[in-house]
C-alpha cells in the first residue's frame, strides 16, 4: 500500500503536494471521493484510489467534474465527509451546482480541492479560482507548504461541518507538483453511518425551491459570513511577524514561500512585517485592520489575481485607513500574468524599499550570446501514437488544395498537440500562407483549440454561419467524448446541422496519466466493467453515419474519412487503437523498429507525419531512431518511395 496510507503518526515523508492533500483527507476520515483527472490535480485521487479499498472508503474517476462534484455533494448531504478534486478549468464545469449548493449548505464535510495553474504549464488558461469561492461566498483556504497542504485539507472538513458550507482548498502547480517533507498525523475516525433528514435544522433543507424559497435560503447563507470571518480570525495557519519598520508584506499560499526567500536574500527579515493569510476568502478582518493601522505601506504578494489585495483595499477604504497598498492593481509592482518566483518577488520588494536593483550586464550579455544555441524543443506525440495515423489520414481526406482554407476544431487531450505549432523559425509568413490552413506539419494542423467539448459545437457554428471556404471538422478523444461532447453531438443531430466528427479512441485518459474512462472496460480500481463503445453511443444519439477505423491502416481510414466529409449530415468516425505507451508498459515491446533504405528520395513526406522517431536532413534524408521506433508501420505506408521497412527486411 502507498506510504501515504501506511505511514505512522510522526513519520516524516517526502510527499508531493497532491499526496499531502490525499493524506489530509485520509486523516480527516474521508468517505466518498470523486474526481475527473486534470493536471496538476490528478495525483490526489490517484493516491486515494491506491488505498481506498484497504482503508474502506469509496473513490472513483467520474465522467466529468460536474458529475464528481454533485456526487460528492449528494454524499455530504447524508452526513459523510466527501471530497471532489479538479484543476482550475474543471471548476468551470461545475459552476451551476457550485453557485447553488451554498444556499442549502451541507451536512457532512464537503471539500473541493481546486488546483490552479499559474504559468499555464498544463492548462488552457491561468484563471484564479479563488474568485469563484468569493462569488459563491464560501471559505477558501490556501496552503503555503506541503505540511500545510496536509493539515489544511484535514482542517477543511471540520470547518465545512461547523459552517455547514462547502469549503474550497486552492492549490497551485508549484505546490501540487513539488515535494516537501511532511510529518504525518493520526488517521481519521471510522466511517459514519449515512443518514437523511429532509428538514434538517431548516424546512426543506436540501431543496432550494422548497419553502421558504431560494431568497430566504440565500439570506441563510449571508448570515454565515460573520461566522466565516470569525473562523478566518481564529485560523492558526495565518501568521503575523512584526518588523522594525512600519512596512508589511501581505502574502498567502505558495507566494509566501517566495516572500520568505526574497526577504532573506535582501536581508529584510527583521525589517519588514510578514503577514501570511491562510484563509484567503474571507480574510481575517480584525488582524488585517491591525496590520493596516500599524503599517503605512504594504505589498501584497499572491499567486494569480489580486484577490486578497482587493479585499485589503476594500477594508482599508471602509475603515478610513490611508495606507499605501502595492501589488497588482494601480501602479502595479507585480505582474497579473505568469507564475511568480523568488526573483519577481525580490524585484517588487526592492522597488517598494527603494533598494538598488543589481543588474549584471556582463552576465546578461553572455546569456544573449549563448541563447541562439538553445533551440526550442516543441511538444510532439509519442512514436507509434495512433493519433499520428488519424491525423495523417484526416489531412489526406481533407485535401491540400491551396485555395481551400479548412477549419480543424480541436479539443483537450494528447491529440491537442496537433495545435501546439512548431516553434523554431516560422516559414515565410506571406499573407496567403497565414490565411491558408498550413497542414504541412502535423503540429500546425488544429486551428481552434479551447476547452473540453468545445470543438464539436464550434464546428456547428461554422456550418451554420454558412462557411464554404473549405472543409470543417472537429476532433476529440474517448474520455473527452464522454466528458462533454455528447450534448454537442446530440445538438447537431437534433438541429440537422452538418458535422464531421472524428473521435480518437485509445481506451484511456492518456494525457493526465492513463486513468480509466468509460472506453477502458474497467473502473478506476481496475474492476472489469462493460466497455462503452463510442459508436454505439453515437448511433443511439441518432447519428446515421457512424464508422470505426483502424488508424494504423492509413488507406482504410482515409477512405472512411473521405466518405464522412462528403456525407450530407452528421458523420462520426471512431479511430481506435490502444495508447502505445500502455501497450509498451504491458508488453515491453510492440514490433521491431523500422529503418530507411537507400531508396529514400529525400522528399520529406515522412516528416509531415510528426513522429518523433523520424529524423530528416536535406543532406542525409530520412532516418529512424531505433530506440524510439516501435514498429507501428504508419510511416512505411505513407513513404512514396517504399524506402521505410522493418529492420530485419533491410538489405
Amino acid at each position: 500500500m502507498h506510504p501515504v496510507a501506511t505511514g505512522a503518526p510522526g513519520d516524516r515523508l517526502l510527499l508531493l503536494g497532491n499526496e499531502a492533500i490525499a493524506r489530509g483527507a485520509i486523516e480527516a476520515g474521508v468517505q466518498v471521493v470523486a474526481s475527473y483527472p486534470g493536471t496538476p490535480s490528478s495525483e490526489i485521487v490517484e493516491t486515494l484510489l491506491d488505498v481506498s479499498t484497504e482503508l474502506g472508503f469509496y473513490a472513483e474517476w467520474s465522467v466529468n467534474e460536474k458529475v464528481s462534484f454533485e456526487l460528492a455533494a449528494g454524499a455530504a448531504l447524508t452526513g459523510v465527509r466527501s471530497l471532489a478534486t479538479m484543476k482550475g478549468a474543471g471548476l468551470n464545469v461545475i459552476m451551476d451546482m457550485f453557485m447553488t449548493l451554498p444556499y442549502t449548505g451541507t451536512r457532512g464535510g464537503l471539500v473541493l480541492v481546486v488546483a490552479d495553474d499559474p504559468g499555464a504549464h498544463y492548462s488552457s488558461n491561468e484563471q484564479d479560482s479563488r474568485f469563484a469561492a468569493q462569488w459563491a461566498m464560501i471559505p477558501c483556504l490556501e496552503p503555503e507548504s506541503h505540511q500545510e497542504a496536509k493539515e489544511m485539507t484535514a482542517y477543511a472538513f471540520g470547518l465545512s461541518e461547523r459552517l455547514e458550507l462547502p469549503v474550497v482548498l486552492r492549490t497551485a502547480t508549484r505546490l501540487s507538483h513539488s515535494s516537501g517533507v511532511v510529518e504525518l498525523g493520526q488517521v481519521g475516525r471510522p466511517a459514519l453511518e449515512p443518514g437523511f433528514n429532509k428538514h434538517w435544522k431548516t424546512p426543506y433543507r436540501w431543496n432550494v425551491y422548497g419553502p421558504p424559497g431560494a431568497p430566504a435560503k440565500h439570506q441563510w447563507q449571508l448570515d454565515r459570513v460573520p461566522l466565516m470571518v470569525r473562523e478566518s480570525e481564529a485560523l492558526t495557519y495565518s501568521e503575523v511577524r512584526r518588523g522594525n519598520q512600519p512596512v508589511a508584506v501581505v502574502t498567502c499560499g505558495t507566494a509566501a514561500a517566495y516572500v520568505r526567500e526574497a526577504l532573506r536574500d535582501l536581508d529584510l527579515e527583521d525589517q519588514l512585517w510578514l503577514f501570511k493569510i491562510g484563509m484567503v476568502y474571507p480574510i481575517p478582518e480584525g488582524v488585517t485592520l491591525e496590520v493596516l493601522r500599524q503599517c503605512g505601506r504594504l505589498l501584497v504578494v499572491e499567486e494569480g489575481d489580486p484577490v486578497v489585495e482587493s479585499q485589503l483595499r476594500v477594508l482599508a477604504q471602509a475603515n478610513g485607513i490611508d495606507a499605501q497598498i502595492l501589488g497588482k492593481q494601480g501602479k502595479a509592482v507585480l505582474p497579473l500574468h505568469g507564475e511568480l518566483g523568488t526573483s519577481i518577488v525580490r524585484g517588487a520588494l526592492a522597488e517598494m524599499m527603494d533598494l538598488p536593483v543589481q543588474k549584471d550586464k556582463t552576465r546578461q550579455a553572455i546569456k544573449q550570446e549563448v541563447a541562439p544555441l538553445v533551440i526550442p524543443r516543441s511538444s510532439a506525440l509519442c512514436a507509434g501514437c495512433s493519433h499520428l495515423g488519424t491525423y495523417w489520414a484526416l489531412r489526406q481526406a481533407m485535401g491540400e488544395k491551396r485555395e481551400d482554407v479548412h477549419i480543424a476544431n480541436g479539443d483537450i487531450g494528447c491529440y491537442e498537440q496537433a495545435g501546439y505549432g512548431v516553434k523554431g523559425q516560422m516559414p515565410e509568413a506571406s499573407e496567403k500562407a497565414l490565411a491558408h490552413h498550413d497542414s504541412t506539419i502535423l503540429y500546425d494542423f488544429l486551428d481552434t483549440l479551447y476547452v473540453m467539448g468545445s470543438g464539436v459545437s464550434m464546428a456547428q457554428g461554422q456550418a451554420r454561419a454558412g462557411y464554404k471556404g473549405g472543409q470543417v471538422v472537429a476532433v476529440a478523444g474517448d474520455s473527452t467524448f464522454f466528458h462533454t461532447c455528447m450534448p454537442g453531438l446530440l445538438n447537431a443531430v437534433w438541429n440537422g446541422t452538418k458535422l464531421t466528427f472524428v473521435v480518437m479512441d485509445n481506451f484511456w485518459t492518456s494525457m493526465t496519466g492513463h486513468q480509466a474512462c468509460p472506453a477502458t472496460g474497467q473502473t478506476a480500481l481496475g474492476q472489469p466493467v462493460r466497455t462503452i463503445l463510442i459508436e454505439e453511443v453515437a448511433r443511439s444519439l441518432g447519428v446515421e453515419f457512424v464508422e470505426v477505423a483502424d488508424p494504423y491502416d492509413l488507406e482504410g481510414t482515409t477512405s472512411l474519412l473521405r466518405k464522412a466529409l462528403a456525407y450530407d449530415g452528421v458523420a462520426v468516425v471512431v479511430t481506435r487503437r490502444e495508447c502505445m505507451l500502455q501497450i509498451l508498459r504491458r508488453e515491453r515491446k510492440y514490433k521491431e523498429p523500422y529503418t530507411v533504405t537507400e531508396d529514400c528520395a529525400i522528399c520529406g513526406e515522412c516528416v509531415k507525419l510528426g513522429c518523433p522517431a523520424i529524423t530528416f536532413s536535406d543532406e542525409e534524408g530520412a532516418g529512424i531512431d531505433p530506440i524510439l521506433c516501435v514498429g507501428c508501420d504508419i510511416c512505411a505506408q505513407l513513404c512514396p518511395c517504399g524506402a521505410i521497412v522493418p529492420g530485419s527486411e533491410a538489405s
Binding site: 516524516r12 517526502l14 493536471t39 504549464h121 498544463y122 507548504s145 508549484r174 505546490l175 507538483h177 513539488s178 515535494s179 516537501g180 517533507v181 505558495t254 509566501a256 514561500a257 517566495y258 520568505r260 526567500e261 532573506r264 536574500d265 518566483g341 523568488t342 526573483s343 525580490r346 552576465r363 553572455i366 546569456k367 550570446e369 549563448v370 541563447a371 544555441l373 538553445v374 533551440i375 526550442p376 524543443r377 516543441s378 511538444s379 510532439a380 506525440l381 509519442c382 494528447c414 491537442e416 498537440q417 512548431v422 516553434k423 523554431g424 523559425q425 516560422m426 503540429y443 492518456s510 505507451l581 520529406g604 516528416v607 510528426g610 518523433p612 529524423t615 530528416f616 530506440i627 524510439l628
Partner: protein
C-alpha cells in the same frame, strides 16, 4: 557569498521525458532527507508524456520555495546536452558544475527544418562561457555496459557524487535505491553508479 548561498544547495536535474530525470531527482531528494536536511523538489514537465523537456529543482538546506531563482544552481545535471544548456542558461551560477550526458535527443523542430541542432562541442563551449565547470560523459553507453540503457540516470548520479560538489552521503543514496528497486535492479543500478563515478573521477584526474 550571501546568507542564502550558505544555507541552501541547489541542483537542477534536466532531460527528456522518459529518460529518468525525475526519478534521479527523487533519489537525490531522498538522499538529502536521509542525511537530515530539509528538502524541496519541484518538477516541471510539459504536456507530453514522453519526449518533452523535463526539469526538476532539488533544493537542500533551509528552503521554503520549491523553485530556485536564476543563476542559483550549484549543479546542473542533464541527461541531454541541449537541455543542459537550456537549463544552465537560466539557472546555473557562475562557477557551478554542468554534468552532461553527451548523447543528443534531437527535437522535432530540427526534423521539420525549422532549426539546427548545435554540435555538442558548441554546447560545451556555451556552458563554459556561462562560467560552468563542464563534465560530459556518454552515460547512455555506460548504462548499456552496466546492463540496462535505462540506468543512464544512475550513471549520472555516480558522476554527480564524483564531483564532490554536494555534501551528501553515498550510503544514503544507496539506501534510497534499495527502497525503490528490487535486488536485481539495485545491482544493475549500483554498477551504473560505479561506472559513472569512475568515468567522472577519471576525467577530473582524481581517483575514488
Amino acid at each position: 557569498m550571501s546568507k542564502k548561498r550558505k544555507a541552501v544547495t541547489n541542483v537542477v536535474v534536466a532531460g527528456i521525458g522518459g529518460q529518468g530525470s525525475i526519478l534521479a531527482s527523487h533519489l537525490l531528494a531522498q538522499t538529502a532527507l536521509k542525511d537530515g536536511l530539509d528538502v524541496k523538489l519541484a518538477e516541471t514537465f510539459g504536456a507530453a508524456t514522453r519526449g518533452g523537456s523535463v526539469m526538476a529543482h532539488v533544493r537542500m538546506g533551509q528552503v521554503w520555495a520549491p523553485t530556485m531563482m536564476e543563476d542559483e544552481a550549484d549543479v546542473v545535471l542533464s541527461m541531454e546536452p541541449l537541455e543542459g544548456l537550456r537549463v544552465a542558461t537560466r539557472f546555473l551560477r557562475p562557477g557551478g558544475w554542468a554534468l552532461i550526458n553527451s548523447r543528443p535527443w534531437v527535437p522535432v523542430d530540427v526534423a521539420v527544418g525549422r532549426c539546427e541542432y548545435p554540435s555538442v562541442e558548441s554546447i560545451v563551449d556555451g556552458l563554459r562561457k556561462l562560467g560552468a565547470q563542464v563534465v560530459s560523459l556518454d552515460a547512455t553507453e555506460l548504462a548499456l555496459q552496466a546492463g540496462n540503457a535505462r540506468a543512464a540516470n544512475t550513471v549520472m548520479l555516480g558522476g554527480l557524487f564524483a564531483l564532490g560538489a554536494l555534501d551528501l552521503s553515498e550510503n544514503s543514496l544507496f539506501g534510497a535505491m534499495d527502497e525503490r528497486w528490487s535486488e536485481r535492479l539495485v545491482q544493475v543500478n549500483r554498477r551504473a553508479y560505479d561506472l559513472g563515478y569512475q568515468e567522472v573521477s577519471a576525467s577530473l584526474g582524481a581517483t575514488k
